[in-house]
């Protein structure tokens, strides 16, 4: 149980992140339309081998930093690559679950473009406005008496 409280605290903070985001409605950002030059099939393998899903979900929709609907740092290939290279390269004392740094040695440009191509294939799997389960939740709350 190493550093149990720090561990818990960070976990709680990460867990609370979606709730914090929830506090103010997120704006849904449409997917970028910039050119894609990489190979999405190769990118898919990289997405798994680099463990991107750990934070971004298997389909880029869930987790601490979903892509779909936000597309931060993903507007273009070059923006993405610049972001990957620009992460901090000094480890903090407290463990961090932030986005890691990806140097060119670790993730060459061609691979980064493949990865980008795969991420761009992600689409929303959200149901329509009238999903029966979700609508029932809101309807039940509305009908509650004060």
């Amino acid at each position: 149980m190493k550093n149990a409280f720090g561990y818990w605290f960070l976990a709680a903070a990460l867990a609370a992140l979606p709730l914090a985001l929830n506090a103010q409605q997120r704006k849904v950002v449409p997917a970028p339309t910039s050119p894609v030059t990489g190979n999405a099939a190769k990118g898919k393998a990289l997405y798994y081998s680099y463990g991107c899903y750990a934070c971004h979900g298997y389909s880029g929709e869930t987790g601490a930093r979903p892509f779909v609907g936000t597309w931060g740092h993903l507007s273009t290939e070059q923006t993405f690559i610049t972001f990957l290279r620009g992460r901090v390269n000094v480890a903090p004392v407290v463990p961090s679950a932030s986005m890691p740094n990806f140097s060119a040695a670790v993730l060459p440009e061609a691979r980064a473009k493949d990865l980008y191509a795969y991420i761009r294939t992600f689409k929303s799997s959200a149901p329509g406005a009238k999903d029966p389960t979700l609508s029932a939740i809101v309807d039940a709350a509305k009908q509650e008496k004060n």
């Binding site: 149990a4 605290f9 081998s49 463990g51 709350a141 004060n146």
Partner: protein, 640 residues
Amino acid sequence: MAKSKNSFGRRGFLKNAAGAAAGAAAIVTGAPQAKGQTQATPARSGAPGAAPGPTEAQLFREAGNIQPPVEVRKITRPGSDLMIQAVKELGVEFAAANPGSSFEGIQESVINYGDPPNVMPEWITALHEESAVTMAHGYAKAEGKPMLAVLHGTIGIQHAAMSIYQAYYDKVPVLMFAGNDVDFIPAHTAHDMAGMVRSYTKWDAEPKTVDEALVAIQRAYNEAITPPMGPTLVVLSSEIQKENSPNVRIPAYQPPKFPTIDTTTARDLAKSLLAAENPRIAVGRLRTPEGVKRAVELAELVGASTSTAATQGPMSFPQRHPLCGPGADTKYDYTLGLETPGAQVSITGPQLAAVARVRDTTNIDFGGILKPSEFGRRGPVEKSAMPIEADAEASLPLLIEEAKRQLTPEQKARIQARSAKHAQANHDAHVAALEQAVERAKAGWNASPISTARIYAELWPLIMHEDWCFASPSGFSGGHNAQLWEHNKPYSYLGGQGAGGMGYGAPAVMGAGLAAKARKRIVINIQTDGDMNYAPGVLWTAVHHKLPVLSVMHNNRAWHQEYMFIQYMAGVRGRGPERAIIGNTLRDPFIDYAKMAAGYGMAGEGPISDPTKLEAALRRGMESVKRGEPYMIDVITQPR
């Protein structure tokens, strides 16, 4: 450990019986009984190789004169019967233990004492001492009172150590007995048994007599339930458990005195609440359901909007009470905190640090780095202008009484009007927040593996009209209950681990299951896979004791927190994250939790990774649990 002077344990009995037999032989033969001759040791002949001659005892037996050992004492009222009666009178419903010889007296009393044989406390079979104590931890969070965990000597205490530490940090009352069998297996005993966990137990004792033990049990109970609440331990030697105690009486129980505000303070606080145009009450974690009732009574009496910690843990203000929420006006002119900071005044019980300083005999400084006053379970603490060190729950009756006494008809009318406005505003705020939460839950709704938000969203319509308790920590599975569900009972959500240690979830859930069983309640467990593997034996306990627990695996096949840490570390060191799976994932092979549950006799299904199949599985699970049969659904999920 010092033995009782009049002790008559198992070994004492055997020793005395042997002595009696030898003594009888000596009387019959007339031979003098020399010191050290009580053992039937064959006499050596002087000639090498010669057969040893028979002893007097052997000769006596050969002659057919041996008598059965005289029943020198009949145990009519063993000490452990009284100990269990004392526990019963305290209202303790369950005693959980993994079997151990050092408490055989206690165990025999729990299962056989009385006519008809005892049923309360009910003996709960745990497969690990850590599970026994953590079950007591979960039970206490659900009910606001202790159950008993019984530990076997040094080895049982050390098995339980982590769970004791966790209960201590969570300020949860847990009553523990440890058996001490001095003469049996040396490795299982110690001169100061409780010393191993003293730094993180609130109180302990090792009574020497049955009388002392009964006093110690009552004191341990009282220490456990007074703030800061915590685990307490009574070490009971096997000898006093078995000692005949026909004339011992259980002392009359004296409930503890809780630190409360004085009448002057109560008068001032009531006056301030009633004089305020827009008062607010911030409610943290109270001790018992009674405290929650009192907090509701006070809020209604003074028409204060309230904040709650019910989405973070048990024993707080009902989340959907009409007064709970931001209220019609968020410019509060007076805020009272109950076990949480308030802008003007907060009534909060003694801090854990006050106990820790005294009890930390190892000088390890548990939690010293984290300073509980700054980083408690409620996160960074705001300062109140006037902190009052008293138990909020115990102070509430006095405060309510004062408020009732001071309340004028004009104030009453104003309060009614204000309360109605708060109710409408809070209802609207809740619906608006829920609509936003539902929008967020749509992300990944139809993705496979299944999103954690979908698990919570699909569960809610199935439980919303039931009496439910969500007993597993929800932090690692997204905490979606906080906004999708409504936490209106003191036990709606039992919160986190206490000290952040994994392995708490599954056993704590089963403890909540014990509380639920007799109360026709159901328990929901959204079970992380990492946690499940610490003590899977609790699945058997759930089946064996028919606990109404629905377990839904958050099976992401990894410790994702650590996975992300290592990825980050590898990144900053320029080495890449490809090998971060090493040591952080549960693959090769994947674990099949439905099969694991089946192995322990639990019904279940899965693995399920198709989101369209989730709802039907949850329905089947609910049907099973309502019949009193625990159920396991293995759901392959998104990482978070």
